[in-house]
């Protein structure tokens, strides 16, 4: 199998979907001949033409709104936000229009919104956010966050095939840093299934996106403890049984995410465990997250805000010793 970067895997996935299905097209700012802000769509305009690679005005509500209309009419649009942060401008089209369409009109809205998200590169407060939790409260949306090149391609395929609007969080920090084997041709990584990134029996460390790699590094050599690292992959709907099965085995859980702490994916996972696996717990459920502050631009401050390997290691050690 060829080795691709995380970014190349996304590009490869887009190309495969567009080759496979003529109803698939991309839209966003500078995604055509320019190839997108991060060059994810580079070369696609050459192969598929401007008709299927729309350059749009700088107007996220228009991008999402047009995508919703196309999806309702039977197309499978893939919209790109230059940065995940800017989805705030398209919020109404997503949560009030796209998310409600199925419930109000019984219509499928098979659209994908790609959200280049996450920090770690001094992007500051407008270009580093992890906005996934905003969408967990809008029933009708699905949210995925791949952590590997293989899943980046596979989850994109599933997102395009899914009849619901899917938010696809691609972590910028992984774009060119992470390489991995990616199968040629089309394949789908099923939505709503966790991946055991590392098997273990002493403690469950739940993560997604770039934090999966922080998690793996933190527990690689943790005093011989066998820590199971779960990669959520899909944040909505959560793989309840995948999470609970691991917790029933280990009895101890740390939930890790780069997003802010309150009312986040971690809170939801913790609540699920408290409700469904209380009698299997052998210690408090612990969260390691960014604090409830915007992401600072200053590199040392940004490092202080985003969860670091040592911090995860310490949290796991504390709980293992409990």
């Amino acid at each position: 199998m060829p080795e691709l970067t995380y970014l190349e895997a996304i590009s490869d996935g887009l190309r495969e979907e567009m080759r496979h299905d003529e109803s698939v097209f991309c839209l966003g700012q500078d995604i055509g001949s320019f190839g997108g802000a991060f060059k994810v769509t580079e070369g696609l305009a050459d192969e598929f033409g401007a008709d299927r690679m729309w350059d749009t005005p700088l107007a996220e509500s228009a991008i999402v709104g047009a995508a919703v209309g196309a999806a309702v009419e039977g197309m499978r649009p893939i919209a790109e936000m230059q940065f995940a942060d800017f989805i705030a401008c398209g919020f109404d089209q997503l949560v009030n229009v796209a998310a409600k369409m199925h419930y109000r009109q019984g219509l499928a809205v098979p659209l994908v919104v790609r959200l280049p998200s996450g920090g770690g590169f001094s992007g500051g407060p407008f270009h580093s956010q992890n906005p996934e939790a905003w969408f967990l409260q809008a029933p009708g949306l699905k949210v995925v966050a791949p952590s590997t090149p293989e899943d980046a391609k596979g989850l994109l395929a599933s997102a395009v095939r899914d009849p619901n609007p899917v938010l696809y969080l691609e972590h910028k920090h992984l774009y060119r840093r992470l390489r991995g084997e990616v199968a040629k041709g089309r394949y789908e990584t099923p939505l709503g299934e966790v991946r055991v990134a590392r098997p273990g029996s002493d403690l469950t460390l739940v993560a997604y996106g770039a934090m999966v790699h922080t998690a793996l590094e933190a527990v690689e050599d943790l005093d011989g403890a066998r820590v199971e690292v779960l990669d959520l992959r899909t944040l909505c709907p959560l793989d309840r049984e995948g999470i609970l099965g691991s917790v029933r085995k280990t009895g101890k859980v740390v939930v890790l995410h780069e997003a802010t702490r309150s009312c986040g994916v971690g809170a939801e996972v913790c609540a699920l465990i408290a409700e469904e696996a209380f009698e299997d717990l052998d210690g408090p459920v612990v969260r390691v997250t960014a604090p409830d502050v915007p992401i600072p631009f200053s590199p040392p401050l940004e490092s202080a805000v985003l969860p670091q390997v040592d911090q995860v290691r310490e949290a796991c050690r504390e709980l293992l010793e409990y």
């Binding site: 029933r248 009895g251 209380f278 009698e279 299997d280 717990l281 052998d282 210690g283 010793e321 409990y322």
Partner: protein, 371 residues
Amino acid sequence: MGVSVAEGTITAWRKRPGDWIERDETVVEISTDKVETEVPSPAAGRLREVLVEEGATVDVGTLLATLDTAARPGEAHADEHEAEPGERSGVVSPVVRRIAAEHGIDVARLRGSGRRGRVTKKDVLALVNEQGGAGPESAIPAQEGDGGRQRAPAGERLSLMRRQIGEHMVRSLKTAAHCTTVVEADMSAVEAARGRLSYLAFVARAAVASLREHPSLNATIEGEHLTVHSEVHLGVAVSLGEEGLIVPVIRNAHDLSHEGLATRIADVAERARSKRLLPEEVEGGTFTITNPGRFGALLATPIINQPQVAILDLEAVTKRPVVVTDEQGRDSIAVRPMTYLCMSWDHRALDGVLAARFLSSVRRNLESWSG
């Protein structure tokens, strides 16, 4: 504490001065002459002072400790963060509580590997594995639910006394090679002599005399080591009704006259029922007699009281037609008060011949009773 309890011994303080205590949380363990029990806190507060040290025996009503109910939890306190070695964390996590309940394990008595001695899931699972599913603690089998999930067993948890009896009995059955030998005895001579005394006193007296003749039955065995005792410390099982039973020990029973032995049996039985036995009065027996016979049963196979090697069971005395032979050798049928003397013995320590000889000796002593 029951009204019959006059005094108690402090076995262990679960809390130290300065510790925060929730209402109904166990503060201290107390041993009375009958039971060991945990004393819950009557209110939430901070333990201010402990007035009676571990090991001390005090009268009922003695002030043991004072509690500051005006204190608040979480307030910084000098002792609160200092864990002494040996101190036990009171925290029992949900999973440990569930597993312990499923296997009848008393977590409060364990010291675990977690923080401040907390019993962790690994600790309790290791204990379950150690017992291998055959131990008394796993007498309640874990039930397999759907998806392999285990659920707590239904029903009310056994009393401490029942659990202790159960533990003792199962351990004995697992330890000793139990055999039961039965002889039939004619109690006519005893009947003529006993007046208002119970049969038990006579059988006890006869057994004590026979034990002096056959000391290999008056023995204790621990592992591969057998100790034959010259003194007879006779255990007498006393039923406490539905609550359970207890076996007080009459020390140096061989030194007592028949009347003395009868008086002592009546005394310990009465005090056992009123829960006034001293802890040392239930220890150190060398042979045990159990006497459920007065309730009409004919035969039983008792379980040996470890680490002793035999237990004699006296069942009902009933009038039965038996063949008797007179001095001239002529047989006739007579109505006699008969009983079965059943003795369980440990085949590790002795063989059937010795058991039969001993029982025959007891029978002879009873049939030739002359006071």
